[in-house]
């Protein structure tokens, strides 16, 4: 065993990067679910975002354009879900699963010509002298811009939901769509926008994997991250800061267990491998003892005549 082989600074920096795809996707899904819609298509939107972002970044040579394209791609795919669940009132669970399958297929089709290509690199944000501060510098001030966007989005989502009229309306639609409708709010329109926001963030999360974390395009490369994001929203009791905590916990313990294995720590590998799931769930379940419940109308179809 040689714990000194693990550099805690690099470890923390790595965990923030590892957590970002889950964080982005989960934050998007949180808004969708707060609006009363259950979209199980996160995985499909992520992988679509991953290839859209990758392809556009390669073609234009600009990773920033790639990320924009990823958000647009994810949002466009989510429009299919809008059509199914908000217009034709199809079952949300089935539509979400279909969206995942469709996204996986579509992405491998789009990605045919992009296997084995190296994408343009997105540089880290230049914080000037801040990045030279020992310990804090490499942990906080040496990342790519999208990672900061992710954290910023959590703060914005939290503030909007808590302090603004828009947030109040969104929550009203999610808690009781009939009452919101009676008050004159456009339930379907608000939900459509929420779903597209969720799609855009899932797309960003996918592109983070294909453009920054791996970086390459491989079919099916999100490998279940979307499902983890979905579970995280529930375990975080639909609270943005808990989503952040959960994503960092999960990302952190995943990184830590890989590093512990490399350093040859004498904990059986089976326990290390399951620890990210276990610890994240336990922590969030303990936190959710305050009886915060799911949005009242979650997963229920809405029709104005009803």
């Amino acid at each position: 065993m040689d714990l000194s082989a693990i550099n805690p600074i690099l470890l923390i920096a790595a965990l923030m990067s590892a957590a970002t795809p889950i964080l982005l996707a989960a934050t998007g899904e949180l808004i969708v679910e707060k609006a009363g819609v259950l979209n199980l298509g996160v995985e499909g939107m992520m992988i679509t975002g991953a290839i859209c972002g990758f392809a556009i970044a390669v073609e234009t040579g600009s990773p920033t354009t790639g990320f924009v394209a990823a958000a647009v791609g994810g949002a466009l795919l989510s429009l299919l879900f809008v059509l199914l669940t908000q217009v034709t009132l199809a079952n949300q669970v089935a539509s979400g699963l279909a969206l995942t399958l469709f996204g996986l297929g579509l992405s491998s089709l789009l990605g045919q010509g992009y296997v084995g290509i190296k994408p343009p690199r997105m540089g880290d944000v230049n914080f000037g002298p801040l990045a030279d501060i020992p310990v804090v510098g490499p942990i906080l001030f040496s990342h790519d811009p999208v990672l900061y966007v992710g954290v910023l989005l959590v703060a914005i989502v939290w503030a909007v939901l808590r302090y603004t009229r828009v947030g109040l309306v969104l929550r009203a639609v999610g808690e009781n769509h009939d009452a919101a409708h009676a008050l004159g709010y456009k339930v379907v329109r608000i939900r459509t926008l929420a779903i597209m926001f969720g799609g855009a963030l899932a797309g960003l999360g996918g592109a983070y994997i294909s453009l920054i974390r791996v970086p390459q395009w491989t079919e099916g490369m999100t490998a279940g991250v979307g499902w983890i994001a979905l579970a995280l929203v529930v375990f975080a009791s639909w609270k943005p800061w808990r989503v952040l905590l959960g994503a960092y916990l999960f990302g952190g313990i995943t990184q830590l267990q890989l590093n512990l294995q490399g350093a040859g720590v004498a904990i059986p590998v089976e326990y290390l491998a399951m620890s990210p799931y276990l610890i994240t769930i336990v922590v969030l379940v303990i936190l959710s003892a305050d009886k915060s419940a799911a949005p009242g109308s979650l997963g229920r179809p809405f029709h104005a005549s009803g």
């Binding site: 791996v214 491989t218 490369m221 040859g264 491998a273």
Partner: protein
């Protein structure tokens, strides 16, 4: 009345036609079950190349079907059952974790032939086949041991099964033979295919000082991580992964399933198929060694090619004594080589590797 008669006779005619067609059974239907996507650039990609070779070789006489991304477990059983029900004559199940599922489904369909890759359970209608990847690992270990400057070699392992453990042992034996100071850092990721996790594992190994990363997972993500780090070498796994040559990928182990798949399909067609156990290596061409790039010093390359030649003609066995097990107990005496039974069930590290094998 007239209409009903007409419809009925039409139905009968159709039925007869269909029966006649089914009876003729013109095409041999071959199914493939894949653990990853065919675009993984590694393991599944090579199996699919084998499938395409079967189509090429047998042309109109054969029809192939495949299902990708099939999880090991109940899902696999469902997919195989569906293939058998759809009329497959021969089904290749291409991952170790499909072993029990293959045996179970084969019992239900005694007329369908099954071929399970890398497993050890057989039945009258279940063959097993595998390649001696460990011969390729010996060459990798040799190059890795010669080229590492930090004396630390990272190894991304998938599942603790004999095939993977064999690879680790073979690589270690040959790395430590040319570089006694070499140390292996092994990370078990418990997946065959998860690019993000494979990349994370590669980065963790690199951060801990590894300047060679060997992988027993299917995607090219570790290659990308090594390329990013800049001073780390890798080897293509299962496929050439030539898009990362000449550096970081300095060589590769290539699985060539095509000749086997073509031969086995032909055996089903002419009725000579029998349950067998095939385990071929470099000599038979089932294991290929991808071009050793110029990033490898010329003398090391020469030694590696000599090792390859010796493994191919059988004059050298990758597990040749004297070797001890990890706990120090004797494994092979001077000059003794491991028999196939020992290799197939290998569940221990050789002496010098630190860490424990997960259960």
């Amino acid at each position: 009345m007239k209409l009903t008669t007409l419809l009925a006779s039409a139905a009968v005619a159709l039925g007869l036609g269909a029966a006649a067609y089914a009876d003729g059974h013109e095409k041999t239907k071959v199914g493939f079950v894949y653990v990853g996507p065919i675009g993984d650039g590694g393991w599944t990609y090579e199996h699919d190349k084998g499938r395409l070779a079967v189509e090429e070789a047998h042309g109109d006489k054969v029809e192939t079907v495949y299902v990708e991304n099939v999880a090991e477990g109940p899902d696999a059983e469902r997919v195989m059952t569906q293939m058998a029900l759809d009329g497959a004559d021969l089904i290749f199940t291409t991952s170790f974790g499909y072993m029990d599922a293959t045996i179970n489904v084969a019992q239900k369909f005694p007329d369908v032939k099954f071929e399970h890759a890398t497993g050890y359970k057989r039945a009258d209608n279940v063959s097993t086949y595998s390649a001696r990847f460990y011969e390729g690992r010996a060459i990798q270990g040799h190059i890795a041991g010669k080229m590492t400057k930090t004396n630390t070699i990272g190894y991304i392992a998938s599942f603790p099964i004999p095939e993977v453990i064999r690879g680790i042992n073979s690589a270690y034996i040959h790395a430590s033979r040319v570089n006694p100071d070499v140390e292996f850092k092994i990370i078990w990721v418990y997946t065959w295919f998860d690019p993000a996790k494979e990349a994370d594992a590669a980065k963790a190994l690199i951060e801990q000082g590894a300047d060679v990363v060997l992988q027993h997972t299917d995607s090219t993500a570790p290659q990308a991580a090594a390329q990013e780090a800049g001073n780390v070498i890798t080897f293509g796994q299962a496929s050439d992964m030539g898009q990362y040559a000449p550096f970081p990928r300095v060589s590769s182990i290539i699985d060539d399933w095509a000749p086997y798949y073509i031969a086995r399909t032909a055996a089903v067609m002419d009725g000579t198929w029998e349950s067998t156990d095939t385990w071929d290596g470099i000599g038979a061409g089932m294991v290929g060694i991808g071009e050793i790039s110029d990033a490898v010093p010329a003398d090391v390359k020469e030694e590696a090619l000599a090792l390859k030649a010796a493994l191919a003609d059988g004059s050298y066995h990758a597990f040749t004594g004297p070797l001890n097990k990890q706990d120090g107990s004797p494994f092979l005496a001077e000059g003794e080589t491991a028999d196939d039974g020992t290799l197939a069930g290998m569940n221990f590290y050789v002496e010098g590797i630190t860490g424990e094998i997960p259960n």
